[in-house]
């Protein structure tokens, strides 16, 4: 059965995708929790604007986001030139750029899920914690966040899945360089463009399904286990 034997290029694409998605979720999670908390708990001028900005990747064509990233974070872009000059960091046409593109595309999904569970945290419990002597930050980490954990898990899983599937923004911003920026979807697409690539494309397709199912099952299991703990 040679069919299930992944070629080097395919293996590399899978590994890159997993790496990009993991970093994208890990790096955007603190920001996502912060944004969700702001939107769930605070009333401030510009709140609607922030909400819209976060949701933009959900409604804009991914290629447009990729193009904006290229303008902003390219070597000559406002942010790109700054990053290069002060940190020697280049994002465009690098796997790190793929992380940024994936993180931005997945951000709205992550924030929505976390915000929903923050909305459901009983603020009376937070008030009770305050009367027990805990300051606002301690209350957040010992009461609010643990109670919102199911949403954090779901949000991370959704974001991870979205990152794995990222295509448009990625190809626009970091191109499709085998071994460097060629993630699983890009590799799959490339394989369908060359004669004899069908088998490889099918292998990657199956792999994508397996990873997605595992992520889904894993997060479901975690969330359910934790939900039981809370008695919800």
């Amino acid at each position: 059965m040679d069919f299930f034997h992944l070629s080097m290029a395919e293996l590399e694409a899978i590994r890159l995708s997993l790496r990009v998605s993991t970093w994208a979720v890990a790096l955007s999670l603190p920001l996502g929790i912060g944004a969700a908390w702001l939107l769930s708990r605070k009333r401030f001028p510009g709140r609607q604007f922030l909400d819209g900005l976060i949701h933009l990747p959900l409604v804009l064509p991914p290629v447009v986001i990729g193009y904006l990233l290229l303008i902003g974070f390219g070597r000559n872009g406002i942010f790109g030139s700054f990053l290069y000059e002060y940190f020697g960091l280049t994002l465009a046409f690098q796997w790190t750029g793929a992380v940024l593109a994936a993180a931005i595309m997945a951000f709205p999904l992550m924030v929505r899920a976390i915000r929903l569970s923050l909305d459901n945290v009983d603020q009376n419990l937070e008030a009770a914690a305050r009367t027990l002597g805990a300051g606002p930050i301690r209350v957040f980490f010992t009461v609010t966040l643990p109670l919102a954990l199911p949403g954090v898990i779901t949000g991370s899983m959704l974001a991870f899945a979205r990152c794995l599937g990222e295509f448009g923004a990625t190809i626009m911003f970091v191109s499709n360089i085998p071994g460097q920026t060629q993630t699983l979807p890009l590799a799959l697409y490339t394989l369908t463009q060359v004669p004899g690539g069908e088998q490889g494309a099918m292998r990657l397709c199956l792999f994508a399904i397996v990873i997605a199912m595992l992520a889904l099952l894993g997060s479901e299991l975690l969330a359910r286990r934790y939900g039981k703990l809370l008695g919800g």
């Binding site: 009983d122 009376n124 419990l125 008030a127 009770a128 914690a129 305050r130 009367t131 027990l132 002597g133 805990a134 300051g135 301690r138 010992t142 009461v143 643990p146 109670l147 703990l229 809370l230 008695g231 919800g232």
Partner: protein
């Protein structure tokens, strides 16, 4: 405890002032809608008065004229809510010690073992709150507030969700707390029988005003 507060709450104009019994239980009594919970929330720092002064012992918690408004976590009060409000993600043990751990050991006036004994919490010490009965939950909630070694204990209808038998079981506990730990208690209720078992010091509230 000195309370003197004004606040408009929708149709209700709250204008309340009273002094608490320094050594024992002060009952805040009145029909529902009289503003009892609002008053106790103001003492706890969960609701801001429009105007007034609140102090416990020598400590000023709120003074609109001097611009003092301590946040709830700095007020050194213990609050027992009507619905218990135990943390569902923590064990009974962790619920009990949540506030206790936040104060320096030198200030621990109330010991964990004493509270566990007094309230009979031992048998379900390691359980989760959702597995407890209403009466057990309320005992843990009282213990949790008590273990912060507060300067005063606020209780908002702590027995309201319990059946008559449990009420009779818990009332003596509450009476003993203020005696044994010499912590003044502000006790909100609309049930005269409860109050008459606990104290003679009653503040009668009606439509946002002190009647007697």
């Amino acid at each position: 405890m000195q309370v003197e507060v004004k606040r408009k709450l929708g149709a209700l104009a709250l204008d309340v002032s009273f002094g608490g019994d320094p050594g024992g239980v002060t009952a805040l009594f009145g029909p529902s809608g009289a503003g009892k919970t609002s008053v106790i929330n103001m003492v706890a720092g969960l609701l801001r008065p429009d105007q007034g002064r609140i102090s416990i012992g020598g400590l000023c918690l709120f003074d609109s004229e001097r611009g003092i408004d301590l946040p709830p976590d700095k007020r050194r009060i213990g609050y027992v809510f009507q619905e218990g409000r135990l943390f569902p993600h923590l064990s009974v043990r962790s619920n009990l010690t949540y506030g206790m751990k936040l104060i320096p050991i030198a200030e621990h006036k109330v010991k964990l073992e004493e509270v566990v004994d007094l309230l009979g919490i031992g048998p379900f010490f390691d359980r989760r709150p959702r597995l407890l009965s209403g009466g057990e939950k309320q005992r843990v909630a009282i213990g949790r507030a008590l273990l912060t070694s507060p300067e005063a204990l606020l209780m908002d209808e702590p027995l309201a969700s319990l059946d008559a038998e449990r009420k009779q079981e818990l009332l003596p506990f509450i009476a003993r707390i203020s005696r044994e730990f010499s912590i003044p208690i502000l006790y909100v209720s609309h049930v005269m029988e409860e109050i008459s078992q606990l104290t003679d010091h009653v503040v009668l509230l009606r439509e946002g005003r002190v009647v007697a």
